[in-house]
């Protein structure tokens, strides 16, 4: 493999900047039938919480024009089960495993982080932005103050670097990012899903038991790209950007806007090979443009 896509996210070396996004990739196993996970720059775990969660009731998925709404509600086996059942396999892979952590209050965040201190995770993605459950932490992600506050506490006890995943649903993302940086965050990821609503007009009811749900997919790309650009202009820590990326061209645009790595979410469902095709597309691009490393076009616009 060529080194043109090698990317450093602070001290962490990614083979390439492409990372499947939390909640869209399980713990990777399902995609092993499609390709070798070690081809990926990294991968991000399903959002984990201290205790197991069974997620939301009712319809969890709804299609919209070029978008997908989900109300999974952070169904997950809990940190302990993750460490026992999934971590040994993930650890054995030669790719960067990122662990995504949600919480319902300060205590549950901190306890989860403490447990993760016991294992050799390269990067934590602190999810303060899941719109689908209280335990998703979106309440923390809505203002710079609350986001900065939880970040500071988590960073203080974490043995691992912490990247904070921002919500597009609250105050200015740039302000929130600045607060997270000031509180010691080593990176920012964005965007989580955008809060939306669906109504089943035939049944005259709201589609989701949880009233609102999170919108992702190509529909949100222009918004995600704008927020990525705003945050890249505002902070000096590296950004892992996502939101509607479906082709290598999309990925490139986020990198041109300043992102260090990019994540692929919804597109995994549409084409399980999407991350690999994006990696290949970026490789060909570097070749054609004569770039010795993709970083040469980072932040170019």
């Amino acid at each position: 493999m060529s080194k043109q896509l090698e990317t450093k996210f602070n001290e962490i070396l990614f083979k390439n900047p492409v990372v499947p996004a939390s909640g869209t990739f399980g713990f990777g196993r399902e995609y092993e039938a499609y390709y070798d996970l070690e081809k990926l720059g990294g991968l991000c775990s399903k959002g984990l919480t201290l205790a197991p969660q069974s997620g939301n009731t009712g319809i969890r998925l709804w299609e919209t024009p070029a978008g997908l709404m989900n109300s999974i509600g952070l169904e997950n086996p809990g940190i302990d089960a993750f460490i026992e059942n999934e971590w040994p396999h993930l650890k054995s892979l030669d790719t960067v495993t990122i662990v995504n952590v949600g919480g319902k209050d300060e205590e549950s965040y901190l306890k989860a982080i403490e447990k993760l201190n016991a294992i050799d995770v390269k990067l934590i993605e602190l999810n303060i932005s899941c719109p689908n459950v209280k335990a998703g932490g979106m309440a923390y992600g809505m203002t710079a103050e609350t986001a900065g506050d939880i970040t500071k506490k988590v960073v203080a006890i974490s043995n691992h670097p912490v990247m904070v995943k921002l919500s597009p649903n609250g105050d200015s993302v740039a302000e929130i990012a600045v607060a997270c940086e000031a509180s010691g965050a080593q990176g920012i990821s964005l965007i989580n899903t955008i809060q939306g609503m669906a109504i089943d007009y035939k049944k005259k009811v709201v589609v989701f038991d949880n009233l609102y749900a999170g919108l992702s997919g190509p529909a949100v790309k222009p918004i995600a790209l704008r927020m990525t650009h705003q945050v890249c202009q505002a902070v000096n820590i590296p950004i892992m950007a996502m939101g509607g990326i479906s082709t290598w061209e999309d990925a490139l645009e986020f990198i041109m806007a300043g992102a260090t790595c990019i994540q692929i979410g919804t597109m995994n469902f549409i084409n399980p090979l999407a991350p690999i095709e994006i990696i290949e597309g970026l490789e060909v691009y570097c070749e054609k443009e004569g770039l010795s490393n993709i970083s040469e076009i980072r932040g170019i616009v």
Binding site: G26, N70, G217, F269
Partner: protein
Amino acid sequence: MAIIQSNEFVSPGICKMTVAFTGAVLPGQFFMLRAWDKDPLLSRPISVHDYEDGKLTFLYQVVGKGTEILSCLKAQSEVTLQGPLGNGFPQIVGDLCVVGGGIGIAPLYYLMKDYKKKNPHGNCRVYLGFRDSSYCVESFNAIADEVNLNIGGIITDQLKVAASEVVVTCGPEVMMKSVAKVTPAENQVYVSMEAHMACGIGACLGCTCATKYGNKKVCQDGPVFLSGEVFYV
């Protein structure tokens, strides 16, 4: 990518598509199909209706944008397939009684055919219920030992399950529930569940179904479940 060999309406709103495919395919499994770029965004889960000699057949009802696009595809054009997915029906031990409602008959044909092949002396009875008009009944007639047809009525009014039979049902959830209810507790009843799906392979947790043993994924742990597992309340 698979090449479509034929794709035709067999009844108003009901289409049958045959594509070239090789590999192991179990009755009750399904494929994710797409033949469009981003509109609609997701692929569509469709069960295996028949599989033989490199020919895979789907039977599907045109209900919305995805199935509409599928129904317009011409022979020789391409459709993107992902699969086979899901667990499929178990090996049936004993006699077989299948109960299908509407388009729910789709996966039952391949099941019955496969059962008859593996159990030449086994008995296979079929109940098919339709709201307005029936379709594909001849193909069931050709193989089953008995076919009961019901149009516009309630299929479970007729249903009588023998002690030797394993029941397999697919159709509207209310129908499957009532099949499970009228079947003696001693008989096993398998149901094929539906759910809105995004990934089809167990990664998104969008198709979760609450069961007696906790959450299960319809796409990966199912779509086939024992009725007692999913209709437990």
